[in-house]
């Protein structure tokens, strides 16, 4: 797209883009560190994550202010308008991702007993998947690449599927050994949070699609998370 006749308008939009890119980088880092903190039960690292969340919150407010000011000053139309609306929405998603990562980190304080390695490996795998999704969707936003964004959108079902199997696995552990219930519940919440981070990545992907095509995506997203309808019954194990 050619530049605006008024250069300062381009600067405003570029500033928004750069703020989101910084915010995205922060969110990625928070996610990586929170999973690491929980798997190693590193409470120092967890505290760093918890404190760093403030910065993401501040950036969300800054993006919002910049967006509102740009709307007021430039009366954006068409793609510029979509760009600004999408910036606001992506900032919200990134802020939520930050909150969820913070929540994952917090749980390293709650789990006192060592967790068997086989339990944390699922969490790690999920963390890696979510991180890859987040990185990819942020890259596609920077490049305004809706094809790549759609790839992210379709691959969320991998995270859902993994979450689904971890959910079942954790249920089994809890049934086998009630002393594990505390740690397993925390892990369950942590994995649920990571699964939600994946959902936010797909939200961002949908926004990129809207930004590029000017209309919302119409397909139903494939979903593999059926934990909400999984019956819990000890008899299942018989």
């Amino acid at each position: 797209m050619p530049d605006h006749i008024m250069k300062a308008y381009d600067d405003d939009l570029a500033a928004l883009q750069s703020m989101l890119s910084t915010m995205g980088g922060l969110a990625e880092e928070q996610l990586a560190r929170s999973v690491e903190a929980l798997t190693r039960r590193d409470t120092k690292l967890a505290d760093i994550v918890i404190h760093a969340d403030d910065r993401i919150d501040q950036m969300e407010r800054a993006v919002e202010e910049k967006a509102i000011l740009t709307i007021a000053k430039r009366q954006p139309m068409a793609k510029d308008l979509r760009n600004i609306m999408v910036a606001i929405r992506i900032a919200t998603d990134l802020e939520r991702i930050g909150d969820l990562a913070k929540n994952v980190a917090k749980r390293s304080h709650a789990i006192s007993d060592p967790i068997p390695r086989r339990l944390t490996s699922g969490l790690q795998r999920m963390g890696q998947l979510a991180q890859a999704q987040l990185k990819r969707v942020l890259d596609s936003f920077a490049a305004a690449d809706s094809e790549q964004a759609m790839e992210v959108w379709r691959h969320d079902e991998d995270i859902d599927a993994l979450y689904n199997s971890i959910f079942r696995e954790l249920l089994t552990y809890m049934m086998e050994d009630p002393r594990m219930i505390g740690a397993c519940t925390h892990l369950l919440f942590a994995t649920k949070n990571i699964e939600r981070i994946g959902d936010h990545a797909t939200n961002i992907a949908e926004n990129i699609y809207y930004l590029v095509h000017g209309q919302p995506i119409r397909d139903e997203r494939p979903k593999k998370d059926d934990t909400a309808t999984t019956p819990f019954s000890p008899l299942n194990n018989d």
């Binding site: 797209m1 050619p2 530049d3 605006h4 006749i5 008024m6 308008y9 430039r74 009366q75 954006p76 139309m77 068409a78 793609k79 510029d80 308008l81 979509r82 095509h213 000017g214 209309q215």
Partner: protein
């Protein structure tokens, strides 16, 4: 296509407002020449009744030229030649049997600069109905004048000084007086050529509010340089460029997701 004329894009095809409302004005293959220069290339468009259609585009794109085709104002310009077919309610406006004066009574026009006659406020509005013989008697004429001023949202401001000159009003009031004058002859279509460009924001807002009310009863076509104004008041937006009608669409869609790159560049302020 060998033709230089790009095909008009419809967003969506057909625009919702065109599908929903009966067409008041239909243009088919209209070309306008000023001497050797072709000002409008093979233009076809359907303008819906009881709605506001806005023509936008950079200066010299042909939007005002086409607007003036609708009431045959171009006839008055030496060297201007209009070909193609334009119908109002299905009747060809270039029909030999058609009285141009009658056509212009049905298709009123409001210009960029308010141009009241150097007469009283009352006379400004009464002039049209009188020459067209629309009033039965003096009382009837007064009724038409008051009603037109009311419809133009000016009556309350001028009711105590109806005999004072129209030129003594503020710019915004003068423009509403011109709208009242256009309404007084009972038109079906009102053409507005940048009606707010000489007005301050408050007067502009009043005119826009008026346009919004008038569309209940009239087919309104407005040429504007203000994209925001087109977005605010119109139902249908048509984008002109270099004499071509590039894209026509529902205003809601045109300003959020236009299809053509030229439209996109123009409305986002990227046109070099």
């Amino acid at each position: 296509m060998n033709d230089m004329t790009p095909r008009t894009i419809f967003t969506p095809a057909p625009p919702r407002i065109i599908a929903e409302r009966p067409a008041k004005v239909v243009a088919e293959g209209v070309n306008v020449h000023y001497g050797e220069k072709r000002a409008i290339h093979d233009l076809s468009i359907s303008i819906p009744d009881k709605a506001v259609s806005a023509f936008i585009g950079p200066s010299g794109c042909g939007k005002s030229t086409f607007l003036r085709c609708i009431n045959r104002m171009n006839d008055t310009i030496a060297g201007c030649r209009v070909t193609g077919r334009i119908t109002v309610d299905g009747h060809d406006i270039h029909d030999r049997n058609l009285d141009v004066v009658q056509l212009r009574a049905r298709v009123g026009m409001v210009f960029q600069k308010p141009n009241p006659f150097p007469k009283s406020i009352f006379e400004n509005v009464a002039y049209g109905p009188r020459i067209h013989g629309l009033a039965k008697d003096k009382t009837d004429l007064e009724r038409i004048v008051v009603e037109s001023l009311k419809k133009a949202g000016l009556f309350e401001e001028v009711k105590d000084r109806m005999l004072q000159p129209g030129t003594g009003l503020s710019g915004g009031q003068q423009q509403r007086l011109c709208i009242a004058r256009a309404i007084a002859v009972n038109p079906e279509i009102i053409l507005m050529d940048e009606p707010c460009s000489a007005l301050d924001p408050i007067a502009t807002a009043r005119i826009e509010e008026l346009i919004h009310e008038l569309k209940q009863n009239y087919c309104i076509v407005i040429v504007t340089h203000s994209m925001q104004q087109a977005a605010r008041v119109s139902d249908l937006t048509a984008f002109f460029h270099l004499g071509n009608l590039i894209e026509v669409g529902d205003t809601d869609v045109m300003f959020t997701s236009p299809q053509d790159k030229k439209t996109q560049d123009y409305i986002t302020g990227r046109f070099g």
